[in-house]
């Protein structure tokens, strides 16, 4: 297997997904990713509006596509993602 086409990636465990979401939220909301907690509500704690959440969803999809993981978050499920934990659980369950 040629190394250059099969770069070793971190396994997409729950911790990796949490870190990915924190990093992307940091970029989108212009905040320090380290202040994002798993229990934070998108709306109440992070002031993330619906468009920011769609930015997050698209960023996660793009990141996973780069890791050759075919992944799409269903629009119908978006409304159920109220907190960082909801998003981590959702992505983790869809990948496993």
């Amino acid at each position: 297997m040629p190394a250059e086409t099969h770069m070793e990636q971190d396994p997409l465990g729950r911790e990796s997904i949490l870190q990915l979401i924190k990093d992307r939220l940091g970029e989108i909301l212009e905040i320090d990713p380290n202040i994002v907690n798993e229990g934070d509500s998108f709306a109440d704690d992070l002031d993330a509006d619906s468009l920011a959440l769609i930015e997050l969803v698209e960023a996660i999809e793009e990141e996973l596509a780069e890791r050759s993981v075919d992944f799409r978050i269903d629009d119908e499920d978006l409304e159920d993602l109220k907190s960082v934990r909801d998003a981590v659980d959702y992505v983790f369950s869809r990948l496993n």
């Binding site: 212009e30 509006d49 619906s50 468009l51 959440l53 769609i54 969803v57 698209e58 629009d75």
Partner: protein, 332 residues
């Protein structure tokens, strides 16, 4: 050989009078020397042979949820126009359609500038005094805002006033319910403290003059008025509604009697330049500030003339490296 100028990408499907008025405005722009590319359905653009066209299969309607529509309708005129800018094939995008979806398309496809929490819509308000309109932002992108965002709006407004209207040191006012410091709701009081700290003015080469009131929107005492998107939109629509009501009342009065008709004919030469100065179609539409590209948001009722002016404005902002100028001020 000179490089071929990039066209302005236009959503031909957006607006109350689309596609006819949009096409006409685009055609005028081409005659003016600005290349354009129209995005629309084959049905809408089939007969166009003098303008560059790109066919799409979907249209985002006025009442659709912006974020969801942009995610679902990837082959819509709005999304494709935004992608054309992102990919470096167009200098700017323009739509007179769904404002929220225009913002969502620009934000999700072009991305945000670094240092920008939320993009804002900047609308030029015609003024009686002064030689340029006042810029109102945010005029509707963010209903809920934080004080730090209003600081970013002030910085973006300053760069925009300089690039668009050549105001070297823009005067910035914070919209409130009184001029004195300490007037306003909690957001405005907190924003005042941040804006009044003075740490940001040198970088954006601007001057914060304190609170202003609604009546100052058209007075020309400031170059930029900063507020949250809810208040800004209410203020903007109030101005538009008031102006429309006054014009209707004047027209009714001018035609109410033979004497009034004669009088209005005498006044017409003086009133026409005033009308032209205050005509929103002449100022070229609003712009979404804070994204990595130029995105113009034209009024839903845009005429061909309004579209033409929006195209001219977009082209000028691109020539002036407006996005790069914004980024250099907003970088932390």
């Amino acid at each position: 050989m000179a490089e071929k100028p990039l066209p302005v990408a236009i959503d031909a499907m957006g607006g109350d009078y689309a596609p006819e008025q949009v096409i006409q405005g685009a055609r005028s722009a081409l005659e003016f020397g600005i290349p354009v590319v129209l995005f629309g359905t084959e049905e809408a653009l089939a007969d166009i042979d003098d303008l560059e066209t790109i066919f799409v299969s979907e249209v985002i309607e006025m009442d659709e949820d912006p974020g969801q529509a942009v995610r679902r309708k990837k082959d819509s005129s709005l999304v494709r126009a935004a992608e054309h800018v992102r990919d470096g094939h167009a200098s700017a995008m323009i739509s007179a359609g769904n404002t929220g979806a225009t913002m969502a398309s620009a934000l999700l496809r072009m991305g945000r500038l670094k240092g920008v929490s939320r993009p804002a819509i900047a609308t030029p308000i015609p003024t009686l005094e002064g030689d340029h309109p006042v810029i109102l932002l945010d005029s509707g992108a963010n209903a809920e805002c934080q004080a730090e965002w209003l600081l970013q709006f002030a910085e973006m407004g300053a760069v925009y006033a300089r690039d668009r209207f050549n105001v070297q040191k823009p005067k910035i006012g914070l919209l409130s319910i009184g001029e004195e410091a300490g007037k306003g709701n909690s957001l405005i009081k907190e924003s005042f403290e941040i804006l009044n700290s003075g740490n940001w003015e040198a970088k954006s080469q601007s001057e914060f003059i304190g609170n202003v009131e609604g009546r100052d929107l058209m007075s020309g005492v400031v170059d930029v008025v900063v507020t949250d998107g809810f208040t800004g939109n209410v203020a903007l629509k109030t101005l538009e509604g008031t102006a429309k009501a006054i014009v209707s009342a004047l027209l009714a009065a001018f035609t109410s009697s033979e004497e009034a008709k004669k009088g209005s004919e005498l006044l017409a030469p003086s009133l026409l330049p005033l009308y032209q100065k205050l005509d929103p179609d002449s100022v070229g539409g609003a712009v979404l500030l804070g994204v990595k590209g130029i995105a113009m948001v034209s009024h839903g009722s845009s005429s061909a003339n309004a579209i033409l002016n929006a195209i001219k404005t977009a082209n000028e902002l691109f020539q002036d490296n407006h996005v790069e100028n914004l980024q250099s001020v907003l970088l932390p």
